[in-house]
């Protein structure tokens, strides 16, 4: 029933090669003197099968851009399309279903449901949709993130790195059109960070997943295919085929 309503929405939307598109995106917080322009006329496209990173100093609007792209926050003006669907026209329920079926999330604070086991957390989006999990696919995802022996554990029994791997698996399991990762390594040590970043990279290369990652760590951005630099709510630069060293240099000049 829910899937059908979404199909209708998708069918009426124009086709495009980019999975996520922002056009003249403006986001203003507050009014009058205290108004802050978090996004100032941003237009950007994220093509399918690419691992993109968004970087920028604090307050540059990188998180705001991601939240608006992911349908967690709404724009003041402009539009966002995910998989061809204009988010601004959707009601809360349709937006929720779109998130459930087309978007995967990885948060900095893992955000697992403490009462559910690792496996139940992984299949959570499917469960909420009332769908049966494709066991072969679940097994493959679990194998990809090396969680085989931890599936029956609760989040409190897992290390930070393991919890984040569960979160990555959860994002992958519904085969979303795009995954948004918000500082996915922010709470992890370097070894665990490396693991997570490799999983994300492999998801793009081996499984053809599209990923947009917000980060302030040049090392993390070095894993991406393409880096976007934001400052004061505007896109100020981009860098194809980044390396950690190049990104670090660019960031220094931005913050200077």
């Amino acid at each position: 029933m829910t899937a059908r309503s979404l199909t209708r929405v998708t069918a009426s939307a124009p086709a495009s090669t980019a999975v996520a598109i922002a056009r003249h995106a403006v986001k203003i917080y507050g009014t009058g003197d205290t108004a802050v322009r978090a996004l100032d006329d941003v237009s950007v496209e994220f093509p399918a099968g690419r691992y993109s990173a968004i970087m920028g100093p604090s307050g540059s609007g990188k998180s705001t851009l991601m939240h608006c792209l992911a349908g967690l926050d709404s724009l003041t003006s402009g539009e966002v399309l995910i998989d061809g669907v204009e988010l601004g026209t959707l009601k809360d329920k349709d937006l929720t279903i779109l998130r459930r079926e087309r978007i995967g999330f990885v948060f900095q604070a893992y955000n697992l449901v403490p009462t559910l086991t690792a496996e139940e957390n992984i299949v959570l989006p499917l469960g909420l949709a009332g769908e049966k999990a494709d066991q072969a696919w679940v097994d493959e995802v679990v194998k990809t993130v090396h969680l085989g022996d931890r599936l029956t554990h609760r989040p409190s029994e897992l290390s930070g790195g393991q919890q984040q791997r569960v979160a990555v698996a959860r994002a992958l399991v519904s085969k979303p059109a795009i995954i948004f990762a918000d500082e996915p390594t922010g709470n992890l040590d370097s070894r665990a960070s490396e693991e997570i970043l490799e999983f994300l990279q492999r998801a793009v290369r081996d499984l053809g997943q599209t990923i947009v990652m917000v980060t302030h760590e040049p090392v993390a951005a070095g894993y991406a295919d393409h880096v976007l630099f934001l400052a004061d709510g505007k896109i100020v630069d981009e860098m194809p085929q980044p390396t950690a060293a190049k990104v670090l240099d660019r960031m220094k000049s931005l913050e200077a």
Partner: protein
Amino acid sequence: MRKVTFRNLSSNRRRLIGTVLGIVLGVAFLSGTMVLSDTITRTFNTLFADVNAGTDAWVRSSDTIEAQFQVVRARVDESLVQTVAGVDGVQAAEGQVMGFAQVVGKDGEPIGNPDMGAPTFGGNWSTVEGLNPFHLVQGRAPRAVEDVVLDKKTADDGKLSVGDRTTVLTEAGPIKVLVVGIAKFGDLDSPGGASFASFTLPAAQRYIAEPGKLDAVAAVADSGVSETDLVSRIERALPTGVEAITGAELTKENQDDIQQGLSFFTVFLSAFAGIALLVATFSIYNTFSIIIAQRTRQMALLRALGASRSQVLRSVLLEAVATGLLASVIGLVVGIGLAGVLKGLLSAFGFDIPAGGTVLKPDTVITALLVGVLVTLVASLAPAVKASRIAPIAALREAAIESTRPSKVRIVIGVLVTLAGAGLVVSSLSAKTATDALGAAGQGAVLLIIATLILGPVMARPIAGLLALPIQRARGFTGRLVRENAMRNPRRTSGAAAALLIGVTVVALMSVFASSIKASVADQVNRSFGGDLVVDSGTFGVGGFNPTFIEQVRALPEVETATSLRFGVMRIADDDKSISVVDPATGPGVFDLEVQQGSLAALGESAVGVSDTIAEEKGYRIGTTLPATFPDGFTTQLTIATIYGAQDVAGNWIIGQPAWNAHAVSNTDAIILLNLRNGVSLQDGKAAVIRVAADYPGAKVQDRDAFAEEAAGFVNQLLALVYVMLTLAILIALFGIANTLSLSVHERTRELGLLRAVGMTRGQLRSTVRWEAVVIAVFGAIGGLGLGVFLAWALVKGAGKGGFTTFQLPIGTLIIVLVIAGIAGLLAGVRAASRAAKLDILTAVGSN
């Protein structure tokens, strides 16, 4: 962030309302009851003082017989008026008669219901200045035997006016009267809602008392003679068996009677205040526990920064006192308003209360505030101690650590207390006397309630898991979340359910008790009464049918046998007893009192019968002789001639008409039971009896089943009142559940935000929270039902051994209680559910 803070504030305000509501209600009922009682007392005191102002001495028989429902005072001879009038210092003396009389209204229906409401009286119209509490507002005083003056309320209720002819039901049978006047009682239309028909003295003697007899003699003193002086002078002239009291003493007696009439009402309200406060205690305990849990980090930080344990303890207790004080003040104000409402309610029930200002005594204020604050303080003590034990290290931990495993000590203590409680309750079954049984059962009940609270957290996990299983099956993934949430903090689940548990326990206890009473009464009636029809006078002891009625019934060709039952009081073995009067000639043919020894036919002039319970208790046997005093003061020896089992029908003592009739103050039949002749259909027989009964307003002709049903009818009325009160108690309990859920939602903000982010719809989220509320409510209700049914079973089988023959579970009612609890839980979850659904996802996932 500002948004979150604002939400916290508003949620705290609501939580505070939930906390104080129980205290407010409890204190309101307590203070309302006190204010009402004080107000009524003062106004009636003034009223009676005014009314009796002219009476300086009151002379009456000193023989009284008191039993459960009635006081019977022997009458005095009318020659006493001359004796009193002859005493030096007496200016005037007048005979007084007062007894049962019920006026029939214009529509042919008797006015008032002396069994359920205010009494209906008849008496003589006093002609001595200062002795008559009534004053005419219309018409004239009675002069002829048929003349009657009515109080204004009765005249208004019956739509009777001066010049109307109507009927007055008296012990002498229905009599035709002419309304010649309408009178007010002081400022009131009626004395406390009672109806009063005033005749001339000779007419009153003939209809209300007996010719030549008086109930009392009232005297007015010469000027200069004090009341006490007058009474002592009169006393010297009095024969034995007659006493004199001052007008002031009479006033005091009248005031006490009114107080007693109201005691049912005040006891009832106080009981409710008690239940409300009890439920409130658990509600507050739970809320404070939650508040403490919420502030664990804050408290730990204070401790880390150098606050001492006692400082933390004091700060929490101070908050409790402030909350309690605020709630008590509100409760007091509401209570004063409530007193006004209750006063109106009493008036609506026919209990007319004189106009007068509301009386607020300092006692009421002090009691209300003290009780409210103390209850809050006691309820918050345990959470406060817990707060003071928070370790400073807790400040550094990420989140509050949920204790999931109940300690072994808790289980052991809980089981021990349960066993002790259950043991006490079960031991009440074999207790020797009802009082012992009640004591043991009561102590056991308290222990069991404590045990439930101790074991609650242990039981909450498995039971909530079990209850939520069907939800999980039906609702898939959302159901799974409901179940996990209900199970995740068993201590909180059981805390939230505790208040509801107490409320439901009382409801279940009352329901089972009432249903067993009804079943037992019906069972008794069916076993004891073999007759076809019953004619009920609707009165108990006072009033009833003139004996001519039963003769008319016996004369009917459709009737085979008819017998009557009368109820009275007399002194047997130096104690005043309620007694049933049977006709030994006709009784055995119509009813079966389960005679075990002797026979009803043996109830002659100097015989008496006793129930097997009393016989066993006192060691009475057939042939035992007991001293006895009849209502007219006649003292004799009675011999036990029968021992019977059906005490539910006949009470503990019976006597035959031959012994009773000669010495009774009243000789009317309360109930007539009859058998129809073979071949006469119930319908035809009933129609024939109804035709005869038409001359006796108030007579109710019923077949056996209808009679049995009505005999237990009083239970329904009582139950209706109990249910209304307990609905309020359950309401208080539900606020506790609502509080708990609001907090749970608050604590799970991030988790719920995540669920929304990865695709849970608002509808799904709302339903998760609501179902969790249902699980908590049903958990509490099931515990309450179990406990209540067990206690009721023990009471019926133990303390009520004599009175109950049947233990009956009102399955339907109990299921309804459970369903209502579930629905109420659903409602309790509404606010928390909508708050959860409105969560801002970004705030929730903590990304800002």
